[in-house]
Structure formats: C-alpha cells, structure tokens
C-alpha cells in the first residue's frame, strides 16, 4: 500500500535523538564499569568486597519490600471499597487517588515534614491528647522513608487494581452466593483469586519503583537511610568514583529489567 510505504521516515528524528542522548549514554555507562581505564573486573571486585555497598543494597531491598507490603495492605481495601461505590462517587474517589499522582514528588515528600515533624500536626495532636510527652521521631529514619514512599507509590497499585476489580463478573459472586457460600468464602475463594494477578502485578511495580527512589529517602531519611540512588549521588558528585557508580547502576538496571519482565508476565495474565 503506497500510503504505508515510507512512513518509517517519521520515526527517524526521535530515533536519532534517543540513540545519541539515551542509548549511547546507557551503553557507555555499562561499559565504564568494566573498561575504565582498561579492561578490568577490579571495580566489580571492590563492589563485592565492600560490606557497605552490600549493606546499602540490602537496605534498599528491605525498604522496597516493606513499602510493597504496606501498599498492598492499605491499597487492596481501598480498591475493593471503590469497586462497591456508585459510579458518580467512583469518579470522585478516582480523581482523589489520581490527584497526588500529578503533583511533584518533591511537594508530596515535603508535605510529610509539615505533617510529621516535631512541631507537626500529628505530634501536636499526640502530645495534646496526652499519648506522649516528647515528639515521636517519625522523620529522618526508615519509618519516615517508608511513609513517604508508600504515599507516593500507592496510586500505582490502587488504580490498576481497581480497574481489574471492575472487570470481575458480578454474576460469579452471585452464583457462589446462590450455592450457599458465606460472604467470607465468596471473597476468599472467588473474588480474591480473581483479583490476585492484578494485585501481584501492582506489588511488583511498587517494589521496582522503590528500588530507584532518590528524592524521598534523601529528604525524609535525612541521610540516615542510605538507598542505592543516594549512594550513586555520593559516588558521582562527592567522592567521585564513577566506575563504582557505573557498576552499581548496572546492578540496579539489571534488577529492574528482570523484575519488569516478571511484572509484564503477571500483568499479561491479569489482562
């Protein structure tokens, strides 16, 4: 068909830009960990031998796991509740869930300093109600990082999960009820298994996104909760140890791509 011949040309300008300003930089970075200043595995050996790097990697995976679990625990009930609302209310709640999605991560992270700081609304309420004499340290520790990260990433779990729950056929639940299943059994043996692929996909997505988080740990962790991204910042801008940064980026890149493949597989089953 003549209309279709030569359409490929339209892709070229962006492709050239992406090759120069994205693909080449990524490949050069990967190469730098083994080729700088000459072919060597020294940087990787240093990475494997240094307990501090392994500890930060472990810490990052720990925060990512906790964040995914918390997002699941509070996100599932929210999505489930949204499914039962009238369509008009659903639109309002979806908009509320989407709202933070649109607002700069920086702003949302900053908000937690206002809310959870020593002088913040939560600590003032706790002290006013006599639960505690001294402000509770919510910030500048792992708790603060987890709260901030969960807040930022929750919509990534809730919205796709809600969309998947809407597609679950109400008649299946009615059939179970007609056959005498109690509410609890209908939920756990019919509804939950049907929502599980989307739920699992959401959990993996939150986990992946937490791995590369930089802004929230930097601000709410106060430098006390080192994650991979913050360590990269130090290795590039402070020390500087570019080859080590390249090696750690490679690890992060590989972990992300592997998990993303898992996510795609589960999400395909959910769809």
């Amino acid at each position: 068909m003549r209309l279709r011949a030569g359409v490929a040309i339209y892709v070229v300008p962006l492709l050239v830009l992406m090759l120069v300003a994205f693909d080449v930089p990524i490949v050069l970075m990967l190469a730098q960990s083994v080729l700088s200043p000459h072919p060597t595995v020294a940087h990787w050996a240093e990475l494997a031998d240094s307990p501090i790097y392994l500890r930060v990697l472990g810490n990052t995976f720990q925060v990512a796991t906790i964040t995914a679990v918390v997002c699941g625990l509070i996100g599932y009930p929210l999505a489930y509740w949204m499914r039962g609302l009238r369509p008009g209310m659903q639109l309002v709640v979806v908009t509320l869930v989407l709202l933070p999605f649109w607002i700069s991560i920086l702003v949302r992270t900053y908000a937690w300093i206002v809310v959870l700081g020593n002088n913040g609304i939560v600590n003032r309420s706790l002290m006013g109600l006599g639960f505690t004499d001294r402000p509770v340290a919510f910030l500048y520790n792992q708790l603060g990082v987890t709260i901030g990260t969960t807040n930022v990433l929750l919509p990534f779990l809730v919205l796709p999960l809600f969309a998947a729950m809407l597609k679950i056929d109400e008649r299946l639940l009615q059939a179970a009820a007609t056959l005498g299943a109690p509410r609890r059994a209908i939920f756990w043996r019919v509804f939950f298994p049907l929502s599980l692929p989307a739920f699992a996909a959401g959990l993996v997505l939150v986990f992946i996104l937490t791995l590369g988080f930089y802004v929230t740990p930097a601000i709410l962790g106060g430098g006390r909760v080192p994650m991979i991204a913050n360590m990269l910042d130090v290795l590039i801008n402070t020390l500087p140890r570019w080859e080590l940064a390249a090696a750690i980026s490679t690890v992060l890149l590989a972990a992300t791509l592997a998990l993303y493949a898992v996510y795609r597989t589960i999400a395909a089953r959910a769809a």
Binding site: G6, Y10, V11, P100, A111, N119, G212, I219
Partner: protein, 265 residues
C-alpha cells in the same frame, strides 16, 4: 457484593493518607508564622511575597518555564511524528523501537541521571542548556509517544486512505486530515510533557550544572533546612497541576476521557 464497614474504614483512612499532606501544605502556605505550626496562628501572604521577592527563586521559575516549554515542544513534535511512524508503518523492528522510546519511563531515573552525567561530561555538554534540554526531552517524550500513539491507533486509517486516493500528498494527509482529528490528544500529550519537565528533579540535579530550576532549588533547600517559603512554591505547583488536570479533563471529556483511557474502559 458490597464491602463491609471495616473495609470502608480502612479505605477512608487510606484516602485521607493520600490527600491530607497536600491539603495541609496548601493551608500552611498562608500561615503567618515562621514555624510549621498547625493550625496556623493567623493567615498572611508573606511566604508568597518572600517567593516572588527573591530574585533567585524568580530566576529559577523563569529557567524552569523556558526549559519546560522548549523540551515539551520538541518532545511533542518528535514524539508525535514517531508515534505516527510506529502506528502506521509496517517495517521490521517497530516493537523494539517503540520499547526504546518507552524505556525512560521504566528504567530508574537515577540510572538515567548517572548515564547522562557521565556521557555529557565526556562530550563536554555537562551544565549546558543543550544537554539539559536534550535530557528533558528524553524523559518527557514517552508520554507523547504513548498518548498520541493511542489516538492515532483509534483514528480510522481508511479516512487517511480516502484523502490519499483523492490526490492529497502524505504531508497534506497528515497535516490536514490526521492532525485536526487528534488535536485533543496532542494537547493532552503536550501538557503531560510540560509537567514531566517542569517537575523533573533527579536528572536536573545531576546534569544542570549552574542552572537552577524550581525543583532543583526546592530539593537543595529541603535537604538543608525547612523554610516555609517552600509551602508557597509547593502550593503554586499544586495549583498548576490541578489546572493541568482540569485542562486535560475538559479537552478529553468528549472522548471518554483520559480517566477512562487510563482505567482501560
């Protein structure tokens, strides 16, 4: 099947958890106190005065705006053309090229920041406007390819074929048949790219050199100290975001809406 009261309670608490911080920042920005006391002892506009009265913040705002407009317009032009090529073309490697364009959305931004830093340092473009704009285009172009791609896919190709058969050139077919029909999606894609660039902080921190953008200044101030002026900037950014969602909502309302598209309905 309707969820019980326990579920509703957890759901409402979660909703408050999502939205509360934003509401509180907006209220705090009008506080008259220098401390982050809540509720504020009185209302004033002092933090807005302190923002607009500080030439460093105003300069950062100018830089952010120019950068966002430049990179989003480049992203819109290149991304829309690429979306057309990918959706309508039948050449080998299309899937791979499409994934390549989407990759900046999936890879951790910090990895992209490190890669661009090392590369721009090597070619001597670190801290230049060209390097900064190119980085922002790379990060915002996936939104354009995604949104415009969906729009072109849902536009009946036979209408283009009719124009072509009646003697229109491809240029005319694209500019006078396709583009007017996908205008709402082009506008949405442009707004998305604009926000993506305006809010970008991580890559900017690494490659901007002496250029100061609003998010970069905010980040650097936040790491050091808590300054209530930030509440005013945060509120302005929230206002811009709400305006942008409203605009996209209005633009796409006639076509099932972006919400509908995002939820796959």
């Amino acid at each position: 099947m309707r969820p019980g009261l326990g579920v509703a309670a957890v759901a409402l608490a979660t909703l408050v958890f999502l939205v509360l911080p934003i509401v509180i920042v907006v209220i705090m920005s009008f506080s008259s106190a220098a401390s982050l006391q809540f509720p504020p002892p009185g209302f004033s506009l002092r933090w807005y005065h302190s923002f607009f009265g500080d030439p460093r913040w105003v300069r950062a705002l100018t830089t952010s705006t120019l950068l966002a407009f430049a990179s989003s317009i480049i992203a819109l032009v290149l991304g829309s053309a690429a979306a057309y090529g990918i959706v309508r073309g039948r050449f080998p490697g299309r899937g791979l090229i499409d994934s390549n364009f989407m990759a900046p959305l999936i890879l951790p931004t910090i990895v992209i920041a490190v890669a661009l830093y090392l590369f721009l340092a090597k070619v001597g473009l670190l801290g230049t406007a060209a390097g900064l704009v190119a980085s922002h285009v790379v990060l915002s172009v996936p939104f354009v390819v995604l949104v415009v791609g969906v729009a072109i896919r849902s536009f009946d190709e036979r209408i283009e074929q009719v124009a072509f058969t009646l003697g229109a050139s491809r240029r005319q077919t694209v500019l006078r048949v396709l583009l007017p029909n996908i205008l709402p999606s082009l506008a949405s894609a442009w707004i998305l790219a604009l926000i993506a660039s305006f809010d970008e902080v991580i890559v900017t921190l690494f490659v901007a050199g002496t250029y100061q953008t609003v998010p970069k200044r905010m980040f650097n101030e936040l790491v050091l100290e808590v300054n209530p002026t930030i509440t005013a900037i945060a509120t302005i950014l929230i206002g811009l975001s709400v305006l942008a969602i409203g605009a996209i909502g209005l633009i796409t309302a006639r076509r099932g809406g972006l919400l509908g598209t995002m939820l796959g309905r």
